[in-house]
Symmetry: C2
Subunit: 201 residues, 2 copies
DNA sequence: CATTGAATTTGACACTGTCAAGATAAAGAT
DNA sequence: ATCTTTATCTTGACAGTGTCAAATTCAATG
């Protein structure tokens, strides 16, 4: 059992070392900036050692995204789970939490919610197992708001979930992509979004 | 003056031929699926002929995006310009038009409003010259809705523009990326968005 | 100690964007 | 008409990429 630090032929835990290094590189250089060969250098291993732990580059990206979802769910259920504060406050906290997390992990967010994985049907089962519950959580949360009277019940919860999620997703993407919105106004934009999405006044 | 059809050494209008082929390839295979060498094959020219008309691959992408904006603006001012119908109907038309255009040109939309160009500061002047007016058009349109009483005036028009745009952008991206929304429900989602964004009821 | 089997490396291939140097053709000058 | 210039296109080359097959190294098991 080679303890960490010493460099043995068998790395010991190459899979998670690659995962960590890949996550770090993605967060700094972006998805397109991830080169498997440079990644191997980071970890101090040869270029094709990776293929004994991941089927190909996409499988590695899937695993990184899956880790991201686990992280995301932890953040999200934290900001939405406090039952002592009123639902409206929790909604605002959720919106803040969602957008800020995306802005703090723009590249990871891109990977998790971007086309390359979902539209091209490149998500493997492991990723789906962690991503779908995340989607369902949003639906249950917004259904809950609806039941509490925070949202009107004149439209299906699923549609309202999609619209609210779209707004959060759009805010996050406009800011992180630098399109007609900059990070100095995140909170103002979130406030405005909450005001506009809540019914009555 | 080589007429089109005959294959001469000097292509005649290689620049726009490359633009067309690139646009077509991007719309079918996506941005990452665009290879300059295959593109050259499409046009029947050698691999590096392109560099006499575009500084590099990014310049080509910029030009494709600029074309996209021109197209986008044409569509958009068409669906928003009819002064004979009431503002509320025009808003709905605008929402429909925006999302449908994005869904019909997903890859182009990605290129135009995505991070690779804007966040990485890879937009050249030609692109900015056509993109910024597009952004401003959205602002003026939504300011107009506000003045017509369609939106409340309790929040700055800029913020409301960003939120509404975020919602449209988010809807478009969720659908085109295949994340928890599919194209069969576009219109329902648009309807729901309009209902939720408009004040009162 | 021998053998099995997993982990890792090296060599190779096809592909990518990009540049320098050469080849070609059109336009302008005399 | 011929020469010169200039824009256009091609060929050769290089560094980089993901990925596979075959060879190597090591740990564990018999």
């Amino acid at each position: 059992m080679p303890s960490s630090g010493t460099q043995t032929y068998h790395h010991g835990d190459l899979r998670s070392a690659l995962l960590d290094a890949a996550t770090s590189r993605i967060e700094h250089q972006g998805i397109d900036g991830l080169s498997l060969r440079k990644l191997a250098d980071d970890v101090g291993v040869s270029r094709s050692a990776l293929y004994h732990h991941f089927r190909d580059k996409n499988a590695l990206l899937n695993a990184v995204a899956a880790n991201g979802f686990a992280n995301w769910i932890a953040m999200t259920s934290e900001s939405g789970g406090d039952e002592t504060v009123p639902a409206q406050v929790r909604m605002k906290q959720f919106v803040y939490g969602y957008v800020h997390w995306a802005v703090e992990h723009p590249q990871l967010y891109d990977l998790m919610f971007g086309r390359p994985i979902w539209k091209n049907d490149l998500a493997d089962d492991e990723l789906k197992d962690v991503a779908y519950p995340a989607f369902q959580y949003m639906l249950s949360l917004i259904t809950h708001w609806q039941q509490k009277g925070l949202l009107l019940a004149d439209k299906p919860a699923l549609r309202q979930t999609q619209v609210i999620w779209a707004t959060l997703h759009g805010l996050a993407k406009l800011v992180t992509d630098g399109v007609y919105a900059d990070s100095a106004h995140i909170d103002e934009m979130c406030d405005c979004a909450v005001l506009m999405l809540l019914p009555k006044k």
